[in-house]
């Protein structure tokens, strides 16, 4: 499998380490009364979608950048890859609302 690293270009998947689901967002308020629940939802439950999935890969043997990859878990087709981390401006992904969407998902 080849992953289009936004920094290095298309590279062999063996160069990357897999973390998994990229849709969760670390809760912003650790002092909230329900913080344990919020962190629990961030750390443990995972969707297991058969189809498109956003996931985190780390380019260990490359630029050492965390990359958010959109991959179809059925076909292994990769439809996009962007730098992980919300506030890094990333010209390669026109839709900058991805991280906002993920926050909404985490809330709902």
């Amino acid at each position: 499998m080849r992953i289009p690293c936004p920094y290095c270009g298309p590279r062999d998947a063996h160069e990357f380490s897999y973390l998994g689901d990229a849709t969760g967002t670390r809760p912003k308020n650790p002092s909230a009364p329900d913080a344990i629940l919020a962190f629990h939802d961030y750390v443990y439950p995972r969707g297991n979608p058969a189809g498109s999935h956003r996931e985190l890969w780390y380019h260990t043997n490359g630029c050492r950048r965390w990359v958010e990859v959109s991959r179809n878990t059925l076909t292994h087709e990769i439809t996009g890859a962007r730098f992980a981390g919300a506030s890094i401006p990333d010209a390669s992904v026109p839709d900058a609302s991805v991280s906002d969407a993920s926050e909404k998902e985490a809330v709902s």
């Binding site: 080849r2 062999d12 344990i36 962190f39 750390v43 780390y58 965390w66 076909t75 992980a84 981390g85």
Partner: protein, 986 residues
């Protein structure tokens, strides 16, 4: 001899000697083992898997199910090699397999006589009781009887390589379609790889007598290859089987030196390629398939297409007098070629009644008898001698030593299925054709079910040009070379119902037509069930020949059409790939890189004994003469450090350099304790949690200056911690102005420990005052120089509990530093100490390590509760506050001593209250680390105990059910030496 006087692509001026079952034979350069055996009239080459039936050469390619042999001998012996693809070389040794005592007389052939009892699932039905006997008695006996070749006697002496290749277009197969595809794309300027599994390019063109542009097919191939070679953008790969279509990449095996006795020095035997193409043209051709009739496996029965290959390519007559049994025109043309070359054909039996006059005319012209609407019902002879034919007007016997069988052609769709695409059934040719292909793949030529030569040439050119255009190259469809547009006329025909004898569907796994019918009768009517129940298609040939016929028979007995019955799916690999090829150079000590520490050579000189620690090779201990056991050496090293001084290479600790104004804030968020308040020139011990509240790692971080920091991690977690920090920065808090780099390899670090450590240190630093007790107090750090100007960092930290320093220098100076320290310490009687002594001292001091940071323990479990800041948020804080982590019954860290001080503690024991039964309910915790303490003169340990420090002074039992020990232990604080820390502050 069955070698024809002339013809073929063998070189008669280059004879090659070889042996088969220890008998010497001769072949020629250009032969395969199979063609050379046939040329020497060796017809019996193997025994079948289950019934030990005598078997001969059936095909001329990688689909061969029968002619499996052992090649070479000793450590190079390679079992289950197909004689039909083994390129002959001088001195080749081959042996038949699965026979005893000999190939000609095989005692196990009795299985064949008992075949009525050995039907589908016979083993499962018969050897059911008693259950224990299956493992001990039946299975070993069956495995002895049913088998393939023997593995090599020793480790493979050859080596194997892995390589990557990139291209615009990968063309798989170099028959007419493949050559035209490669030419079209190559001419357009696309980077093309043409991969051919055979040792010669040309595919079927090597086997057929026809004309292309009024010339021989051989001349066309030579011209095409010459043109392809003239392109710098085209790479030709011969002996390279593309065996699998994976995600974005293709696996291929290049048999670099399989065609020589021993690879040349430094040459690999095989090379595993990962090919990354943008487009693929699959031009894998088609395969002649068998007809299922009684005795269709007898040596002498051969596929018509294979017989044609032996005659035309290898100049060998597979039989003196042959008959033909077919359902298509191609078999007739094969018969004509054989007949014309001097291998006479007596009769052609064809199940069709409407064969075209053009074809029947060819037989008449040659005086070959034709039996239309006929069927072969049985064969006889140890090797073939008699063929019995149902002519439509009764039975007739033909006396022939060869039978050319052809059930028509199946496109080689295998690689199209590797992404889950299902082939679809084409009624007109009664064969599966490619369905949905992997992304970027198109199929050309006979692999699409288009069999005529003219069509294959044109289709290849079109597909090659289209692939090039698709990638932005300018390529017009080429004008295909002029060639014949011959018909195949194949009519579906699978199974001669009238046959009484054993009629094989899967030759290699001995699956018969009757087995398929029986499976259906017993309820296994799904294709997948059929496969598991009968083992159809499960051998090394993966059903290349038999699957379609098996499916057709199942369709017939179950009253369904073939598409209703199912499809045959294929998974990688197309042909077997040796595990050695997948391993490549990663064997034995090269399984992964060896990482010696910077002082390795010096440690070797000192007699160090090394041990793998994580990815590193570290000195475990340095035995002296007169120290019979490891413990003798370790005790001496520990006492030397405690009484005088010692040094150890600690370069393996993970080192991470951080800089930027926000590093303090960043560290506050990743460590449980506060770092932002640390003053420059100071070191602090820190503990990191995972987000779930479990301890991830510990180590020290030094603030070198206002915005430069140096972190150390444990050896084991170096990579993981760095990855975690990068995640935290890039994904969680990109707003923090922090830069970091792993510098584990860049700095060599030597620890000096013991009461005289400062004296030694002052002997290597350039400015002794910079490391005086006042200038460099405990947990202080200094940037200075050593050994006359070498940049260095000195950290006053201690893992052993003694006065200790760690000196870091650029890695290239590491060995010199170790030597300088040893020299400077000679007056102090310094010793080198290893990982073993380090481990003893850390337990004596109560420092936690791997056995305690085991992925289950929280900071509080380890006694770090008071370290954790309550004034800030950090990774893992919230979930560490969960109820389970606050449970007072949670085991926490304690020190352990045996009540009887002569007894030895062993890690892994469980704590029980005195008198309590060893049950899970009574479990009070576990002993995580134990060692002999030479300082105290008795065994000590660390462990996790319910109640933790509140139990100090109590007596428990350390119960070890595995080793059968039960020792009374006294609970103490987890620090056995200098709990006030006087020594390390000295």
């Amino acid at each position: 001899m069955s070698r024809l006087a002339k013809g073929g692509q063998i070189d008669r001026s280059r004879p090659l000697a070889f042996t088969f079952d220890d008998i010497a034979y001769q072949g020629y350069f250009g032969d395969t083992l199979a063609s050379a055996l046939l040329a020497n009239d060796v017809k019996l080459v193997g025994r079948s898997f289950k019934y030990h039936r005598p078997r001969g050469i059936l095909t001329a390619g990688s689909e061969e199910p029968n002619a499996l042999v052992e090649l070479r001998s000793g450590a190079r012996r390679e079992p289950n090699t197909r004689a039909t693809t083994a390129e002959l070389f001088d001195g080749l040794e081959a042996a038949s397999q699965n026979r005893w005592p000999s190939l000609a007389f095989d005692a196990m052939a009795v299985n064949g006589l008992l075949s009525p009892f050995f039907g589908a699932a016979f083993y499962y039905k018969t050897f059911m009781w008693p259950k224990a006997a299956w493992e001990k008695l039946y299975e070993p006996a069956i495995r002895r009887a049913a088998g393939l070749g023997r593995a090599a006697d020793g480790p493979d002496p050859d080596h194997y390589e892995k390589a990557h290749a990139f291209c615009d277009l990968l063309v798989i197969g170099s028959g007419p379609a493949g050559l035209e595809a490669a030419l079209a794309a190559g001419r357009a300027g696309a980077r093309v790889i043409l991969a051919e599994e055979d040792f010669a390019f040309g595919g079927r063109l090597l086997s057929e007598k026809t004309t292309i542009e009024d010339d021989t097919p051989g001349a066309y191939v030579t011209r095409a290859i010459a043109e392809l070679k003239s392109f710098t953008n085209v790479r030709l790969m011969v002996r390279t089987a593309v065996f699998g279509a994976y995600d974005d990449e293709y696996g291929a095996l290049e048999r670099v030196a399989d065609h020589v006795a021993v690879p040349a020095p430094f040459q690999p035997r095989q090379r595993l390629w990962k090919i990354i193409p943008k487009r693929v043209v699959l031009a894998a051709g088609a395969m002649d398939r068998p007809i299922v009739f009684g005795g269709n496996d007898r040596p002498g029965v051969m596929h018509a297409a294979a017989a044609q290959t032996y005659v035309n390519r290898f100049g060998v007559a597979p039989a003196k007098t042959s008959a033909v049994f077919s359902n298509n025109d191609a078999a007739w043309r094969a018969a004509f070629d054989a007949h014309d070359a001097g291998a006479s054909v007596k009769a052609i039996v064809d199940v069709r009644t409407d064969v075209s006059p053009e074809i029947t005319g060819g037989a008449q012209k040659r005086g070959i008898r034709t039996i239309l609407g006929g069927k072969v019902v049985s064969t006889r002879g140890k090797t073939l001698g008699i063929v019995s034919v149902e002519t439509g007007h009764g039975r007739e016997t033909l006396y022939v030593d060869g039978l050319m069988m052809s059930g028509g052609f199946s496109p080689n769709v295998h690689l199209t299925c590797h992404h889950g695409g299902k082939p679809s059934w084409d009624e007109t040719i009664a064969a599966f054709v490619p369905g949905k292909c992997p992304p970027g793949m198109t199929v050309a030529g006979a692999a699409t079910g288009t069999f005529s030569l003219a069509d294959c040439l044109a289709d290849g050119g079109r597909k090659g040009a289209a692939a090039a255009r698709d990638l932005g190259f300018s390529a017009a469809d080429p004008t295909p070379p002029r060639a014949e547009s011959e018909a195949t006329g194949q009519k579906p025909f699978w199974w001669v119902h009238e046959s009484k004898g054993l009629a094989f569907v899967d030759f290699q796994n001995d699956v018969k037509a009757k087995d398929v019918a029986l499976a259906h009768k017993e309820g296994f009517s799904s294709v997948e069930h059929l496969k598991r129940y009968t083992t159809l298609g499960m051998a090394t040939d993966q059903g290349k020949l038999g699957n379609v016929a098996g499916l057709a028979i199942l369709a017939e007995v179950s009253g369904r059409t073939i598409p209703q019955t199912g499809t045959t799916m294929f998974r990688p690999p197309w042909t077997p790939v040796a595990l050695a090829a997948f391993a490549g150079h990663h064997r034995g000590p090269d399984f992964r890189p060896t990482r010696p520490t910077p002082s390795h050579a010096f440690a070797e000189e000192l007699g160090g004994q090394f041990v793998e620690a994580g990815p590193w090779l570290r000195a475990a201990y340095f035995p002296h003469r007169g120290e019979p056991t490891l413990r003798d050496s370790v005790n001496r090293e520990v006492l030397a450090v405690r009484e005088r001084v010692g040094w150890i290479d600690v370069s393996t600790f993970g080192k991470i350099e951080l800089s930027g104004p926000d590093v303090g804030a960043f560290l506050d968020r990743v460590y449980i304790n506060t770092f932002s308040t640390l003053k420059p020139g100071k070191v602090r011990y820190g503990v990191m949690l995972r987000e779930d509240g479990i301890v991830m790692d510990d180590g020290t971080t030094t603030r070198l200056s206002e915005d430069r920091w140096a972190m150390t991690t444990t050896t084991a977690n170096a990579g993981r911690v760095y990855q975690h920090l990068v995640f935290c920065h890039q994904v969680l808090w990109p707003e923090l102005d922090v830069r970091m780099a792993s510098t584990t390899e860049q700095w060599a670090q030597i620890a000096i420990a013991g009461p005289r450590a400062r004296d030694v240190l002052q002997g290597v630093v350039d400015d002794a005052a910079a490391v005086s007790a006042e200038a460099l107090p405990y947990m202080g750090a200094a940037e200075t120089t050593v050994m006359g100007g070498v940049k260095a960092r000195v950290f006053r930290v201690s893992f052993s509990g003694e006065l200790g320093y760690e000196v870091a220098v650029p890695a290239r100076h590491g060995e010199a530093l170790a030597r300088a320290i040893a020299k400077a310490g000679a007056a102090q009687d310094i010793v080198p100490y290893g990982l073993e002594a380090l481990a003893v001292m850390r337990i004596e001091k109560g420092h936690v390590s791997g056995p305690e940071l085991n992925g289950q323990t929280s900071a509080a479990d380890l006694g770090f509760a008071r370290m954790a800041s309550t004034k800030k948020d950090y990774i893992g804080r919230v979930l560490a506050g969960r109820e389970a982590f606050r449970d007072p019954r949670r085991p926490s860290l304690v020190g352990i001593k045996p009540v009887d001080r002569t007894q030895m503690l062993r890690a892994g024991a469980h704590f029980l209250k005195p008198g309590a039964k060893p049950t899970t309910g009574n479990d009070q915790g576990w002993l995580s680390s134990a060692t002999w303490s030479p300082t105290l003169g008795h065994s000590i340990g660390l462990g996790f105990l319910v109640g933790g420090s509140a139990m100090v002074g109590e007596v428990f039992r350390a119960w070890d059910g595995l080793r059968g020990t039960d020792i009374e232990v006294e609970i103490c604080a987890p620090c056995f030496i200098d709990p006030e820390g006087v020594r390390l502050r000295g």
